[in-house]
Symmetry: C2
Subunit: 222 residues, 2 copies
Amino acid sequence: MKILIVLAHPEMQSMNGAMFKQAIKTLEEEGHEVKVSDLYREEFNPVSGRNNFKTTYDAAFFKQQLEELHATKVAGFADDIETEQQKVEWCDLMIWQFPLWWFTVPGILKGWVDRVFAMGRFYGNDNIYEAGMFKGKKAILSLTAGAVESAYLKDGLHGDLYGVLRPLHRGILQFTGFEVLRPQVVYAPVRQTAVQREQELAQWGERLKHIFTEQAMPIDTY
Amino acid sequence: MKILIVLAHPEMQSMNGAMFKQAIKTLEEEGHEVKVSDLYREEFNPVSGRNNFKTTYDAAFFKQQLEELHATKVAGFADDIETEQQKVEWCDLMIWQFPLWWFTVPGILKGWVDRVFAMGRFYGNDNIYEAGMFKGKKAILSLTAGAVESAYLKDGLHGDLYGVLRPLHRGILQFTGFEVLRPQVVYAPVRQTAVQREQELAQWGERLKHIFTEQAMPIDTY
């Protein structure tokens, strides 16, 4: 199978870096083909605007979705965006590896979505959710969270993790048709021992060996 | 009173630009003091990393929160970050004006939070939620949404808007102690007539005249 792993962390020595490397190693050993978007090392620019395009539909008034529809028709996306779009279109499974910063993805990953997930190319008025263009593809959020697991339960300090992740699961991934698998979460890695972190990495590797047999979470029932 | 308005939209002629200008005009006419962070025009860099700091705590391993704690002690934040932090600390009311992109703020605004809302400076282990450092300050999300209002109801296409906004309300604003007022939402401005858009702007202006008498939403009951 074909897997795209998107990494959004400034420090490759971090637990996120280790989870990223573990995924590449395991999936390649299993015979899969892996591509990556290592947003920090690639110095991806997350500011969405006219820089998303080589073409201009309306020079007097920038309406991003109209520019996206036009660029879809005339192959007008900027080279960095076209490259990322092709990777998403290519993959069977997309994994996002990131630290949960402020209840969501880091800005560099949010901006990657803003720029790459273009109207016309990745979705349309009649192509969302169950009719999404990426029907048949799977996606997983693999994240580290600063706090311990009990903080992310329904009556915990921060509330239910699935509520926290819902805008990502529902508003981006299911919106474009991805089947979303349950998230992989490492809680409070800075409080873990080296042995515990090795166990987390091993569990991630084990899960990935069987990832294509997993069932997706239902839409919007969590 | 002192108001900070943060704008995250690439096109100043947009409804977001108009709402931004309306807020400045109304609040200044009411005798308030207004500062702005116009992130696109100021070319704010939303990629969080070592560039947040003038100082270095650990050159061998970048752990952002440790760098933030150190920079808080030694006044080590980069000039662009220090400037933004002072504006947030200065204000009585903070308004975010943005388009709802992918169920949340644009990447440039997410990255502004990642970089500016630093541990030690804006929150600490004992200073979150009810004990947040910004207790007494108010905040409002003022946004445009692409779809119509019915899409953002509990059984609507996208689900309850308060669930969509919860990571922003809860995870950023209430987390740091802000009292959150109900959001100002313009639904589907591209489908509105010029007259309807003028009405939206007028309603926003009217609301802002009395904004300091509004009660905050309760924490986590929505």
